[in-house]
């Protein structure tokens, strides 16, 4: 069984397990009001070139890694930027040219939505656009040359995420990339080299910076206000001001 098939099964199992777990989640948990401010994720992925094009017919996928960071604009709506590197092997030199391996580098911006469908589970979806570059290398026997193929990247990313804590979660993320390459070719080859498609499956960790919940803010304010005013320290007075401002903002946003 190939790695992709196994990963697909893991994603399916995780999805089904969510249904079971969702029934035991405490939907009324005060932390349910928590909002994300920004999220940074680190991931490893396996990319597979697909389709009837030079990448799909001549390259084979390998492991890669990447980082994405996103800022939340309104509720689950977010924008962000991502970088990734994927390592691929040439499996047919007659199709791609006389080189041995390629490293695909992506840099892109994206926008999407993060939907929390239980207290602990999220699904996300976003679309992105950016720059993609395959750095191609020959073996020493081929001469050891390096050159690049580059183009415009269009990327559609989804993910399913499980929160271990409000700050740390893990996710699995299938994504699809289309690269519009600007490779100049002999007329007979132009259709083959004009684009490349890649299907990726990533797993990784997300680190979230959350906006404190209304309930928690209220608790913290009550705790400080319970202290007589003349006995409050400087830090407590500053904190009280910040908490009150945050609470006002949160209430305004909720309304």
């Amino acid at each position: 069984m190939s790695f992709n098939s196994r990963l697909f099964i893991v994603v399916i199992i995780l999805s089904f397990s969510n249904i079971v777990v969702a029934q035991t989640d405490t939907i009324n948990d005060p932390e349910n009001n928590r909002l994300r401010r920004n999220v940074t994720e680190l991931f490893i992925q396996r990319g597979s070139p697909t389709g009837d094009n030079y990448a799909g017919n001549g390259l084979s996928g390998g492991l890669g890694f990447g980082i994405r960071t996103q800022a939340y604009l309104y509720k689950g709506l977010y924008i962000g930027a991502g970088l990734s590197n994927d390592f691929m092997k040439v499996n047919d030199m007659n199709v791609v040219g006389n080189y041995d391996r390629a490293t695909k580098f992506n840099a892109y911006l994206f926008a999407g939505y993060d939907y929390r469908f239980t207290d602990l589970w999220h699904i996300t979806g976003d679309i992105g656009i950016g720059y993609s570059q395959n750095k191609n290398r020959q073996t020493t026997a081929q001469g050891g040359a390096k050159f690049r193929d580059s183009g415009t990247l269009f990327r559609f990313t989804t993910s399913i995420e499980y929160e271990f804590t409000p700050a740390i979660s893990v996710f699995a993320s299938p994504s699809f990339e289309m690269v519009d390459y600007k490779i100049a070719t002999a007329p007979a080859l132009s259709n083959t080299f004009s684009n490349g498609n890649y299907f990726n499956v990533a797993i990784g960790i997300r680190i979230s910076d959350n906006i404190a919940s209304i309930d928690r803010l209220k608790r913290d304010i009550d705790r400080i206000e319970a202290i007589p005013e003349d006995q409050r320290g400087g830090v407590q007075r500053i904190r009280l001001k910040i908490y009150k401002k945050r609470l006002a903002r949160r209430l305004a946003r909720r309304n």
Binding site: T140, D149, S150, I183, L189
Partner: protein
């Protein structure tokens, strides 16, 4: 101190310099290979590589550790039963590209071409290439006049390596001509010169006789080994 610094910079420069293949380019190479009778040759390996074959030693010494006869390999293919070969190739950043023809039955032949002529279309459609058998020719310069003068001689023959000539993008021909210069009558014994060429081909020998007249002799090379005696 400054001297060592400069030397270090030169060494770093030499080893860090790396010719590259053009980004975002793919070309199509095609040609036909025949023998001296015009019969298509099957299973001839055609390898396109960057650089001039004349610079082999340089590329071997400084650029990398690939085969002495090749720099960056840009593409390769094998001729079919019609002698035709067509394959995808990468494009060189400098303007000089060469290709080799290798067969079990023939000596390897290298041909230099200029990228300038193909840069616009990326179609490297080469004229028909002819492979010939190698021949070793022994020229024996025999002194029958008794002169003690030393003479210059020039031999012109067909080399295994060729260059394709073009004029404003139009291929005007492929030249495989090579020359060897040597001195005759340097010692009392006959001068024997060994030249590696191909057959069928023509070899021309030019030298001055005792009267100072320029003598030109031509030989038809038709066998794997040939010997000619030139009397002066």
């Amino acid at each position: 101190m400054m001297k060592y610094l400069i030397y270090s910079c030169i060494v770093i420069f030499l080893f860090s310099c790396e010719a590259r293949i053009d980004n975002n380019k793919r070309a199509l190479f095609s040609t036909t290979v025949v023998d001296a009778n015009g019969t298509p040759l099957e299973n001839v390996e055609v390898v396109v590589y960057s650089g001039f074959y004349y610079y082999n030693l340089q590329s071997y010494s400084f650029a990398k550790f690939s085969d002495i006869d090749e720099d960056f390999i840009l593409g390769s293919g094998i001729t079919d039963s019609n002698g035709d070969v067509s394959f995808l190739m990468l494009v060189n950043t400098d303007e000089q590209t060469s290709f080799s023809l290798t067969s079990e039955d023939y000596p390897r032949r290298n041909v230099s071409i200029s990228d300038v002529n193909y840069a616009s279309t990326l179609e490297y459609t080469l004229p028909t290439q002819t492979l010939k058998q190698s021949s070793l020719v022994n020229l024996n310069f025999s002194n029958i006049s008794g002169t003690t003068d030393v003479y210059n001689a020039i031999t012109t023959f067909e080399s295994k390596n060729c260059s394709q000539f073009t004029d404003e993008g139009i291929i005007t021909g492929v030249s495989c001509e090579d020359q060897e210069f040597f001195l005759i009558n340097q010692s009392t014994s006959d001068t024997i010169v060994e030249i590696e060429t191909v057959y069928p081909s023509i070899m021309t020998v030019e030298y001055e006789d005792v009267t100072g007249a320029l003598i030109t002799e031509q030989f038809m090379i038709t066998n794997a080994t040939e010997s000619y005696v030139i009397q002066f």
